[in-house]
């Protein structure tokens, strides 16, 4: 019997392949092997149809591997009890409206805990804790649908986080958000990752934000992992990225164009580097 170790919820994917059942029969994941250590913040990128969403559904147990295994904390995700799985791996869907099940923000956030048979007082305490952290306290009694989109998304986050998952998978949280809202969401994920030690896997198309906020990027294309490394490593391979219709962020492309070895990931990095360069020139 496999024991579940939540202290070290390492994600290990071994020799995993996935084919959609008939009539689709599509080989969505060809064969992948990777490990994500507990506490990492990883971006999963690639064009639609590259396999990144399928992979995230496999990790969260919505789909079962056709071959190979996916283990978290030593236990196969596919074998976890449906009431245990949400406490190990949380999945936040893209559209917050599809995740509202109760009539007030507080009740909606408590919903998952009550399904886990947590006593109501403890559930409320925990829900209020997360409402405080995600700045939702003032909305406690409002219907979630009366909130703005950004706030609704934070309600969806809180509803998953109260169940204390060790791994949080977030599906395209920045799609359809303006750049500033998207940045706020990434900042929140980074904060959760740092303060709670929770593993964050974010599926996204926003390369600027990935470069700024994550330390590791897994690039999917044609059902395979094309690249896996730090943003600097990944974005220095524009030809491979083009296979999955991804372009490095503009700031990295500037570095590539200037033929710098160490690619800048933020505007500040580039400014500092150029300032130093110009000053060196003028001294001469």
């Amino acid at each position: 019997m496999e024991a579940l170790n939540l202290q070290d919820a390492e994600l290990i994917v071994r020799n995993m392949r996935f084919v959609y059942p008939p009539p689709k029969k599509l080989e969505a994941i060809k064969r992948v092997d990777f490990t994500i250590r507990h506490g990492e913040m990883v971006a999963l990128i690639g064009h639609n149809g590259s396999g990144k969403t399928t992979l995230s559904k496999l990790i969260s147990g919505y789909l079962k591997p056709t071959e190979g295994t996916i283990k978290i904390g030593g236990m196969e995700v596919a074998k976890m009890h449906p009431r245990v799985r949400p406490t190990v791996v949380g999945y936040v869907f893209q559209n917050p409206d599809q995740q509202v099940f109760k009539d007030s923000v507080l009740e909606d956030i408590m919903f998952g805990l009550l399904n886990l048979h947590t006593p109501p007082e403890a559930a409320e305490k925990k829900a209020r804790e997360y409402m405080e952290r995600l700045e939702l306290t003032k909305y406690a009694d409002l219907h979630p649908f009366r909130l703005g989109k950004g706030d609704r998304q934070r309600v969806a986050f809180a509803g998953i986080l109260v169940m204390d998952p060790k791994i949080l998978i977030v599906d395209e949280p920045t799609t359809g958000q303006d750049p500033e809202k998207a940045r706020e969401i990434m900042r929140l994920l980074q904060q959760l990752n740092r303060e709670n030690g929770i593993t964050v896997i974010v599926v996204t198309h926003s390369m600027d934000l990935v470069a700024e906020f994550t330390k590791r990027i897994i690039v999917m294309g044609g059902g395979e992992i094309l690249l896996d490394g730090t943003p600097k490593e990944v974005f220095s391979q524009p030809e491979i990225l083009a296979k999955t219709y991804v372009q490095p962020p503009q700031i990295a492309r500037l570095g590539l164009e200037m033929q710098w070895k160490d690619l800048p990931m933020t505007v500040d990095e580039a400014v500092e580097r150029l300032t130093a360069e110009v000053q060196k020139e003028s001294v001469r």
Partner: protein, 272 residues
Amino acid sequence: MRPLYQFAAGDSFIHRLDPRTKLIFALLYMIAAFIIPYPWWMFLAIILILWIGAGIKISDYLVFLLYMLPLVFTLTLIQMLIGPRPGITIFGLGIPFLSYAGWLTGVRISFRLATTGMGFVLFSMTTDPFDTGMSLYKSGLKYNIAYMFAFALRFFPLLQEELFVIMSALQARAYAAVGSSNPFTIVRGIVSSVTPLGVGALRRSQDIALAMERRGLGFPTELGTTRVIFRDIRLRFFDYFIMVLSALGLIVMILHFGWGGQAWDPGVWIKR
């Protein structure tokens, strides 16, 4: 994932028939299944018609038939329990509390229902809902009603996809209903999905209504334009031929069997 009995695009003899022809054929066929004493032949025949005439195999709609199983099973069981004695005998073993006549009635009702379902499958899987809508419009229905009828069918897969995501989101919240085998729990799960599904549909329908107006749903009334129907919908020789043939077939059947004719005995499987 193909939603249940959704239009399967194709170019075949049946696909090319006018929707009105298929509608009349399917209706007469269903009536016939209730007249003929051996509806299983009607059931097998329509499966063949769909296969040969439209290239649609059983596997394409098997799920739909399987969904009918619990219903026909329950119906047959009830008939067997409440039907008149004598009881039935299986492999020489007498079971007096199960009615033999009830068994016959149950099997017949089951196949009649299944044939009705197949008539529905034949029509919906081979007919573009917009062809149906536009043919109804040509037969005098108001355009907006005819168009909305077709659009509703096209909207269905979107809703189904959305329901699927919502059910997954419920699962992410440790909700037991999803994947449960307890019908009571499943119903609770569907009830929980109604709000997000409804809100999603409502939000979307406002945008859709606006987008439709921009593209001219109201032009004929607002601007006085005369709408043109580009698709070529008309009754051809084969349409009339099939309508007449199926009407004749039904008349012959009624003359031969009357309303509810004598039974062929399906007791091959279960002896009295």
